[in-house]
């Protein structure tokens, strides 16, 4: 019987109290994580759009200028992404010490490789951006350089997702041996595509806002485009990738181990979907509008609510799925280190 049962280790927690009430830490975790992921989205999505614009720029110069403009946003967004990542990292270390450290150790090589990989990607981005004119006659090479940074950006989320997924399932810690085996656990892959679609959706809205600002000297920098055209393109990206969540969302939900799924979680996710549908409705109106931009603020609010619902849903699932194990750890710790 024991041979076929799933065994989960029950380590002892660190015998020091949490530095502040758990609910404050959880709230801070959700807020800081969403802020971090916003800029991660803009960094990855921006790089993807920059590549597309540069490729289109091979035939039509105006797209090359657009790519250059997008590049200038990535410089800022990527730095904010890193700095805003420190807070959720610190909090997850504090709140889920045993879970996070166990998953880190089991995916150790991949986990630590994030550091040199991202540092390299950043240096490539700088090289690409600050040598734009030097590659005027070697555009394909210039695009290839940017693509290496993009590939790194595409790979790194997979490491984080496998890690953050693995920490939820102590019963799998004894089965996993390295990063590759953790990637194929349940819902990592659907979660990855769900994340990528979200990334492009957020970036599409960013494009609408950034190039639509009155202060932005559009005519001076982007000859051959109109503001409306760029705004519409941004909305179209957001619209279609959000529609694609019809596939990724349910795939993610139904590949989650059911022991963490509750009605509370379902309500949170359904609420998120309703706000997303409302956002889609207004995005569609904007695409069809002659002068798009009227509903941008409303759309951003609706999408923010959707993303917040997903953030809370993610946290709810996490707490649900590890709840019995947390009790075991607490009992073990109290028994081991009686206060």
């Amino acid at each position: 019987m024991y041979l076929f049962a799933q065994v989960q280790p029950v380590p002892r927690d660190i015998p020091l109290p949490l530095p502040m009430p758990e609910w404050i830490l959880i709230l801070l975790l959700i807020i800081s994580f969403l802020l971090h992921i916003l800029f991660i989205n803009l960094m990855i999505g921006g790089t993807a759009l920059e590549i597309i614009a540069q490729v289109l720029g091979l035939k039509d110069k105006k797209y090359d200028a657009l790519a250059r403009e997008i590049a200038s946003t990535i410089t800022v967004n990527k730095s904010l992404a890193v700095v805003l990542g420190v807070a959720p990292l610190l909090i997850i270390n504090t709140l889920y010490t045993i879970y996070f450290y166990s998953a880190n150790a089991l995916t150790g090589w991949a986990f630590i490789s994030v550091i040199p990989l991202v540092a390299t990607a950043f240096l490539i981005l700088y090289y690409h951006k600050y040598n734009w004119d030097n590659f005027e006659n070697k555009k394909k090479l210039h695009i290839a350089i940017l693509s290496t940074a993009f590939l790194i950006f595409m790979f790194v989320p997979l490491i984080f997702l496998s890690n953050i997924n693995l920490m939820l399932f102590p019963d799998k810690w004894g089965e996993v041996s390295g990063f590759i085996s953790s990637v194929f656990l349940w819902n990592v892959i659907p979660r990855y595509f769900h994340f990528l679609a979200g990334t492009m959706a957020v970036t599409g809205l960013f494009i609408v806002w950034y190039f639509g600002r009155k202060k932005y000297p559009f005519e001076e920098r982007l000859h051959g485009f109109t503001r409306e055209e760029i705004k519409r393109k941004g909305y179209q990206i957001t619209f279609w990738v959000t529609v694609s969540q019809i596939v990724w969302g349910p795939l993610l939900f139904f590949t989650l181990p059911w022991r963490g799924v509750t009605w509370e979680l379902a309500y949170i996710i359904i609420a998120g979907i309703i706000f997303a549908l409302a956002a889609l409705h207004f995005i569609y109106k904007e695409i069809k509008s002659v002068n798009p931009g009227r509903y941008l603020l409303l759309i951003i609010i609706l999408i923010t609510i959707t993303v917040s619902c997903m953030g809370f849903g993610r946290q709810t699932y996490r707490e649900n799925v590890i709840a019995p194990h947390k009790v075991m750890i607490k009992e073990k710790t109290q028994q081991y280190y009686p206060m």
Binding site: T75, S79, T94, T97, Y101, W173, G174, E175
Partner: protein
């Protein structure tokens, strides 16, 4: 447990942390004030209508470009890398530190975030600030604020670094302030501040030589100014270094009662003094030389100076790491991640029975070598490897078989239970006698084979049956 048997686990943290410290001190804390002063000089000259204004401004911009690219890529990522590597190698100690210093770190993060925002504003608006004198004045102010934030992040982190060496009154009161204002805090901050300024000056000198053409009056002027900067701060480094040199043993040697331990401490400690003297002499000579013979100052000379400065900083960090042994958190946790107060339990019951990730809970004649491997992973692997850097097999060979003869089991068995008396920097062996025997057998089995052993990241983990539960769906 995560384990790298080739380089050793300590090396992972050391490489990432030292790169980060060098970037932080040499390109942020010590460098940003220099760039700001250059821009300020340009601004003052611009107000007077002096044409040299643009040269100062342009040089400041070029230096800032380098600082911006490196600090926001390698600098930022190695900062995160310290979190990642400590989480892998020293989870219990970093987990404990976070619980004590959460508020300090959270505050530091806010300051760090402001620093990054200001560094972006400062660099990315530099060219725009040239439009008029008012914009330039505001831009210089941003530089000054940025320099302040940069120093402040260091001032917070130093509190935590000091705590690791001397926990002060925290062990009794366990409050954040008791931990933060530990006895080593100000001593270390007093050293790091001028050291960072000298490091920044050395980098700025090197980059200036790289950017400016030879034999120009402007180049001579910049070199003289940068030398003056270094010349002013070097005596502070010396004074603070000497203060640190005499103060630390007073604070840290209290626990070392064994003469041989004191001697080992002194040897390590003297290496810091020698590198400090080398820095002072080289730095002063180069400064004087550059002021007297600016035309003869070469990039190579500055590269050498830069090397000496970085070497001194590296030695300082290395000595700091070494002298806190056998603890990772003084008097609270040993460097093998085991808490001091849990030792009696481990000694009595054995360490394996308390281990969550171990194949066997009790040593038997049949499992001795495998159990010994688990004991090695728990008790030794944070500092030692089997076949790589700081190999435990090499250590025993150096002690008991200098000519490669088979290791003497009896001598090893006698040595392990009392090793901390001979090597003050070693934590005591945490397990029982059977586990010490198993460890000895494991080490002997590796004497001639030297197999690299894998950590959890490569081969997964064995879960102890005693420390696990069956999942109930």
């Amino acid at each position: 447990m995560f384990h790298m048997d080739f380089f050793g686990d300590r090396m992972l943290i050391a490489v990432i942390a030292i790169v980060h410290v060098i970037i932080n001190h040499a390109l942020a804390v010590g460098f940003l004030p220099i760039v700001t002063l250059m821009e300020y000089r340009g601004y003052k000259l611009k107000k007077l209508g002096d044409a040299e204004s643009e040269k100062w401004d342009e040089l400041g911009y070029k230096l800032m470009f380098f600082a911006f690219v490196i600090t926001t890529s390698i600098g930022a990522l190695t900062g995160v890398g310290i979190w990642f590597s400590t989480a892998l190698v020293s989870p219990a100690s970093i987990g404990s530190l976070i619980r004590v210093f959460f508020s300090a770190w959270f505050f530091e993060w806010v300051i760090f975030m402001l620093e990054v925002i200001f560094i972006m504003i400062y660099f990315l608006t530099w060219k725009k600030s040239r439009v008029d004198i008012k914009s330039k004045r505001n831009h210089v102010r941003v530089g000054a604020v940025l320099s302040g934030f940069s120093w402040l992040t260091m001032a917070i982190i130093v509190g935590i670094l000091g705590f690791m060496m001397d926990t002060g009154s925290w062990t009794q009161n366990k409050t954040l302030l008791d931990g933060f204002f530990n006895p080593i805090y100000l001593v270390q901050l007093a050293f790091r501040t001028p050291m960072a300024f000298v490091m920044g000056g050395a980098v700025a000198l090197f980059l200036t030589l790289y950017h400016l053409k030879k034999h120009t009056e402007f180049r001579t002027k910049v070199l003289r100014n940068l030398n003056l900067w270094m010349f002013l701060w070097t005596p502070h480094v010396f004074a603070a270094g000497i203060y640190y040199y005499y103060k630390i043993p007073e604070l840290m040697l209290g626990n070392i009662t064994v003469a041989i331990g004191t001697q080992a401490f002194q040897n390590w400690y003297d290496s810091f003094l020698y590198s400090l003297l080398a820095l002072i002499i080289v730095s002063m000579l180069v400064n004087i030389w550059t002021v007297l013979k600016p035309k003869w100052t070469s990039k190579y000379l500055m590269l050498f100076t830069l090397f000496i400065v970085l070497f001194t900083m590296g030695t300082f960090e290395r000595v700091r790491e070494f002298i806190r042994k056998p603890y990772v958190l003084e008097e609270y946790m040993y460097s093998n991640q085991l808490r001091v107060e849990d030792y009696s339990k481990y000694k009595q019951d054995g360490i394996l029975v308390h281990a969550v990730y171990a194949k066997y809970s009790v040593v038997t004649d049949l499992n001795k070598i495998e159990a010994g491997k688990d004991v090695f992973m728990i008790a030794c692997s944070r500092c030692h490897t089997v076949a790589g850097v700081n190999s435990v097999v090499n250590k025993f060979e150096n002690l008991f078989s200098p000519n490669g003869e088979p290791l003497d089991k009896t001598k090893m068995q006698q040595y392990i239970p009392v090793m901390e008396k001979a090597r003050y920097f070693m934590p005591p062996f945490p397990g029982n006698n059977a586990e010490a025997d198993a460890l000895v057998d494991f080490i002997i089995s590796e004497q001639y084979s030297r197999n690299y052993i894998n950590g959890a990241q490569s081969t997964g983990v064995d879960i102890s049956k005693q420390q696990s539960e069956v999942l109930k769906n």
